[in-house]
Amino acid sequence: MSLLEVVDLDAGYGDLHVLDGIDIHVDDGGYVTVVGPNGAGKSTVMKSIVGIATCFGGSIEYQGEDITGLSPEEVAHEQIGYVPQSNNVFSTLSVEENLRLGAYVCEGVPETRKRDVYERFPALADRRDEDAGSLSGGQQQMLAMGCALMLDPDVLLLDEPSAGLAPDLVDEMFDRIDEINETGTTVLMVEQNAKEALRRCDRGYVLANGQNRYEDDGDALLDDEEVRREFLGG
């Protein structure tokens, strides 16, 4: 069943059109990856869904409901978990306060979810009263993901979760995402690290110049001669 359906989307910022007729289909429980070169519009897909970018045409449906053109505040109430690529934690607020704000749209602070996040990311539990800005890059990324999980989201949107991480942390990050997906959360991920991302996901999209280029199962894209030559460096 379709959870998130992006149809013929034109979107951008101000007068600038970045996306030109993008279609993306995410099944309930699926793990979908969007790859493509720099400037392909990968992040803009995410930002359109959560209401940061401007939608000029097309539609975005979530759980059968049209969410095209909603503001970020309104999308937050749909309990879509979104982890931006950068500036994804409040650096002057403590870890604990960041998690609390992760569930800002929920009634009360969901203590059990907070415990789940600390169990999933024990490094955060040890530093819960410290400013998020004092965490390492990897820990900040974990915290950002933890904040999104505080919503108990049906879908998690991850914008380049491996960006800026040390190589040994990248694998760990992808393992965590696998775990989250296996426990039933749908994942839509944009990644620069295309090979690894396609290997992990079950459905992949390759974007270029704001348009769909290829769409197939992750493994099939990895094996495709043209995709390899054009986008995966041979």
Binding site: S71, T92, L101
Partner: protein
């Protein structure tokens, strides 16, 4: 008079500057504007307090509470009328608007309230400590006999109560944490579902209440005229910048630095030059900013 007495005056001055500087710096950090009309909020609060005290027979705290409420209402109303509609135009148009609004309010107060200075009459008791050695160094007494009035205690006590309340608000309540989050990163705050307009309104209300309190304390401790707020805005601004603009804790420290500097400069400068005392506050501001451009607290300045 010994320096100890001047220090007491400095702490009292620092206290009402601090109360106002917290409001000023929260507006700067969260609404992202320098509100040059903020001094007039003090004047309005002081006049509301004065007219309450002189028309209603109630005790002093009633006038204080009415002044705080008055400051809050004024602040929300002016924000709704003048600042919220141009919120997306950026800091410079908002600063210019606030300068114009300040001039208009100042003259409106003079038109309706008259030029004269007024003060709220209170029963003052004075506690004297005369048996303190002078500990003179040259012509300056380091200690010396001193006194504290009940008004001093009201001002300093109110300030301490404000510091604690603001701290609890910002660290323990949902709306306070959301305020800090918005000062940190407004885009991420929206992604989290924070209603940014609601938070801005809350900041306007809080800043107005603090300005009202600061103003009515001025009316109790000294006196107020239509230009009182304007003559304090530069001290409030200096305290906020000194502390690291946007940081309420820094603003408190900055306010006491300014308060003490003003008091000591009066003591040290020859009597013909006491009008230069506010220049001393700015000299300190310039030196601190040369050494630490981000101010004392330094980290909570909104990223450009």
């Amino acid at each position: 008079m010994g320096l100890l007495q001047e220090a007491i005056f400095g702490v009292v001055t620092g206290s009402y500057i601090a109360i106002a500087a917290i409001g000023f710096t929260l507006i700067y950090g969260i609404v992202n504007m320098i509100n040059f009309a903020y001094g007039e909020y003090l004047t309005l609060g002081a006049f509301v307090g004065f007219f309450t005290a002189s028309t209603l027979p109630g005790p002093l705290p009633v006038a204080v509470v009415v002044a705080m409420a008055g400051g809050g209402v004024v602040s929300i109303a002016l924000a709704r009328g003048f600042f919220t509609p141009i919120n997306d135009t950026g800091p410079v148009p908002m600063l210019l608007t606030s300068i114009g609004l300040g001039i208009a309010i100042r003259n409106a107060i003079r038109l309706f309230g008259g030029r004269s200075a007024r003060y709220i009459e209170t029963e003052t008791s004075t506690i004297r400590f005369n048996a303190v050695p002078d500990a003179a160094v040259g012509s300056i007494d380091l200690l010396g006999g001193f006194f504290v009035t009940s008004e001093h205690l009201i001002v300093v006590g109110s300030a301490v109560a404000v510091f604690l309340s603001v701290h609890l608000l910002l660290t323990r309540t949902e709306v306070g944490i959301a305020m800090r989050a918005m000062g940190d990163d407004e885009d991420l705050a929206r992604v989290r579902g924070i209603d940014t307009q609601l938070i801005r309104d809350s900041v306007w209300l809080l800043a107005g209440v603090l300005a009202g309190l600061s103003g009515v304390l001025l009316a109790i401790q000294t006196n107020v005229s239509p230009t009182t707020g304007f003559s304090h805005i530069l001290q409030i601004l200096s305290a906020a910048i000194l502390g690291g603009a946007g940081s309420p804790y820094g603003a408190i420290v900055g306010a006491y630095v300014i308060g003490l500097a003003l008091a000591f400069s009066t003591a040290v400068l020859p009597s013909s030059m006491t009008s230069l005392s506010s220049a001393v506050a700015f000299a300190i501001l310039i030196v601190v900013l040369l050494v630490r451009p981000s101010g004392i607290a330094g980290t909570e300045v909104r990223k450009a």
